[in-house]
């Protein structure tokens, strides 16, 4: 009797622990963050949280620093994502033919993605170091003027984009390479008969067939680039002059350096909305673009 009850409800028993974990560790924190975003509190045991309504949101939305951080987040994300997709597709095309050592190349590609981001951030800090770094040595050897890289408010965000591109272009390349392997050879044979050139074949056959793969890869990057934290915090912590402060970093600073938990929470709610909104937009775009071929 007992065993049959157990067997009949097995699927619920199997998912229950994971569901409870998710509820306690995810759903509760989200609700708590939303709640605390309407309060003013600095984690003090003496002064309890004070209800302030939408004041935290008003403070943020009328604040230059918040809008700058939003701008940094969006430009960092879009530029990095577009560069990674273009370079990733180009590299995948370059490596699409068979050659000796192809597996070795693929192995090297794996390294930037799995290596500890904080450690890599520190390595790039040395590379970008204006006086002893490799980046300026390279520029000088080509007869160019050295740059300040992470030390300059104008160049820091671009320098960090380069790091993200270095880290994640290989992922796009590997995904696209896997996608290339599934394209049938017939369209190319037909194109050969019609006398199409290499570029023509790429634009008219490869790209359309790869489109779903590329869109999925781009969406994955979008979600993750928006949330970039490690390499920024390990190198510039949002500086110099707040020039690399993204929403993620600003939220962290508000919460754990200024201990303005209410304002930080309202920022996180807005940030969460931005991530969800952009993700849904990408899903919608993907559906629409795929629809064209149905």
């Amino acid at each position: 009797m007992y065993t049959s009850w157990f067997d009949r409800n097995l699927k619920w028993i199997y998912v229950l622990p994971a569901v409870i974990f998710v509820l306690v560790m995810m759903l509760f924190p989200i609700l708590y963050t939303v709640r605390i975003s309407f309060f003013e509190w600095s984690m003090s045991a003496i002064t309890p949280p004070k209800w302030v309504g939408f004041d935290n949101y008003k403070t943020l939305l009328t604040q230059e620093r918040f809008w700058k951080a939003t701008g940094h987040t969006i430009s960092f994300t879009l530029v990095a994502m577009v560069l990674e997709v273009i370079l990733g597709v180009a590299i995948a095309m370059l490596l699409s033919r068979q050659f000796r050592g192809k597996n070795f190349v693929k192995t090297v590609f794996l390294l930037p993605m799995v290596a500890t981001p904080v450690a890599m951030g520190l390595v790039w800090l040395l590379i970008y170091e204006p006086t002893i770094g490799a980046a300026n040595m390279l520029l000088k050897s080509m007869g160019l003027k050295p740059l300040l890289w992470l030390a300059s408010p104008n160049q820091a965000l671009s320098s960090l984009i380069i790091v993200d591109v270095w880290q994640w272009t290989p992922m796009i390349a590997l995904i696209v390479m896997a996608g290339l392997a599934t394209i049938p050879s017939e369209p190319y044979e037909a194109a050969d008969v019609d006398g199409a050139g290499r570029w023509r074949k790429f634009v008219s056959i490869t790209l359309p067939l790869l489109k779903p793969t590329i869109l999925v890869a781009a969406m994955l990057r979008l979600i993750d680039v928006l949330k970039t934290f490690d390499i920024i915090y390990a190198t510039t912590q949002g500086g110099p002059n707040l020039s690399t402060e993204t929403l993620n970093i600003y939220g962290y600073v508000l919460g754990f350096q200024y201990f303005k938990l209410g304002t930080a929470s309202s920022l996180l709610v807005l940030f969460f909305g931005l991530v969800m909104g952009l993700t849904l937009f990408m899903i919608w775009m993907r559906k629409r673009m795929e629809g064209q071929y149905d």
């Binding site: 157990f6 097995l10 699927k11 028993i13 199997y14 998912v15 994971a18 569901v19 974990f21 998710v22 560790m25 995810m26 924190p29 989200i30 708590y32 963050t33 605390i36 370059l94 490596l95 033919r97 192995t107 590609f109 794996l110 930037p112 799995v114 290596a115 500890t116 981001p117 904080v118 450690a119 520190l122 390595v123 790039w124 040395l126 006086t131 002893i132 040595m137 270095w166 992922m171 590997l174 995904i175 999925v216 890869a217 994955l220 979600i223 934290f229 490690d230 915090y233 993620n248 939220g251 962290y252 919460g255 754990f256 938990l261 930080a264 996180l268 940030f271 969460f272 991530v275 993700t279």
Partner: protein, 272 residues
């Protein structure tokens, strides 16, 4: 014609080498600098050829007590991966077999939400029950990264298993629970390896959760190496040695288990 072909091959070779060098360069630079003294790092004349020193590595272990941080990282990484497997495998199996797609959607949401959203409530909660700077807090928080990934990968793995295997088990007199334990689990090695490796790597690399929830006792490697920088003058050689020590285990895992890591990342990708 042959001449043209040869030039094409040459250009292709050069481009490939260039791409390879660009992606490998930071690793080469890190490795070289980790064997240099501070003055060698400062001098442009000793880029590739210099008298190597192992002083950086010994100082990382002797002066900064890196062994402790390695042990911390191992405890947190293994603990969170094992617990996530324990919760994740049965859940993934039930979701795959009974098509509980709404639940898998929840898992997807966990992948999209910025991790920092959880940090403030966790920090408040863990402070209240005195769990900050304990392995429990770190393992629980790291599980939130590992568990969705494990469930995600294992759903597609279990869905790909033929149903006949389970039916055969049921005919032999097993109940569903026994089928899962004695029939399904023993043949799920490749899936479990893929999922565990990635979950471990994510935990090993995690910085954001650890920097808030860890303290002196439980500090894992990424936080330890980051704290290195707060010294007034950056000791580049030691910093690079520390970076090498952190990255080496993940790189070894990636090299040895390349097949698993790629398929794991791709599973996250294709379904994402």
């Amino acid at each position: 014609m042959t001449k043209r072909k040869r030039t094409a091959a040459l250009i292709f070779g050069l481009l490939t080498a260039l791409v390879l060098l660009a992606f490998a360069f930071p690793f080469i630079w890190m490795l070289l600098a980790s064997f240099k003294t501070q003055s060698q790092i400062m001098s442009e004349g000793q880029l590739l050829f210099f008298k190597p020193t192992t002083h950086n590595y010994t100082s990382v272990f002797k002066e900064y007590d890196f062994l402790k941080y390695i042990v911390n990282s191992l405890i947190i990484g293994l603990g969170s991966t094992l617990l996530a497997l324990l919760l994740g495998l049965p859940a993934a199996y039930a979701i795959a077999r009974h098509h509980m797609h709404k639940l898998s959607l929840v898992i997807l949401v966990a992948r999209i939400i910025p991790g920092i959203t959880f940090l403030i409530p966790w920090f408040i909660l863990f402070s209240k029950i005195h769990l900050v700077d304990t392995y429990t807090a770190l393992i629980l928080s790291h599980m939130l990264v590992g568990l969705p990934f494990i469930i995600w990968i294992m759903i597609s793995f279990f869905e790909a298993l033929p149903k006949e295997i389970e039916e055969a088990g049921l005919i032999d007199g097993c109940n569903h629970h026994q089928v899962f334990l004695r029939v399904i689990m023993p043949i799920s090695g490749p899936g479990v390896i893929t999922a565990s490796l990635l979950s471990f790597i994510f935990s090993w690399n995690n910085f954001m959760f650890s920097i808030i929830l860890a303290g002196d006792k439980t500090k894992p490697l990424p936080v330890a190496v980051f704290n290195f920088m707060s010294y007034s003058e950056i000791n580049w050689g030691a910093l690079m040695a520390a970076a090498c020590i952190i990255t080496l285990p993940v790189l070894i895992i990636a090299l040895l288990a390349q097949r698993y890591v790629v398929s794991g990342l791709a599973a996250g990708a294709v379904k994402g």
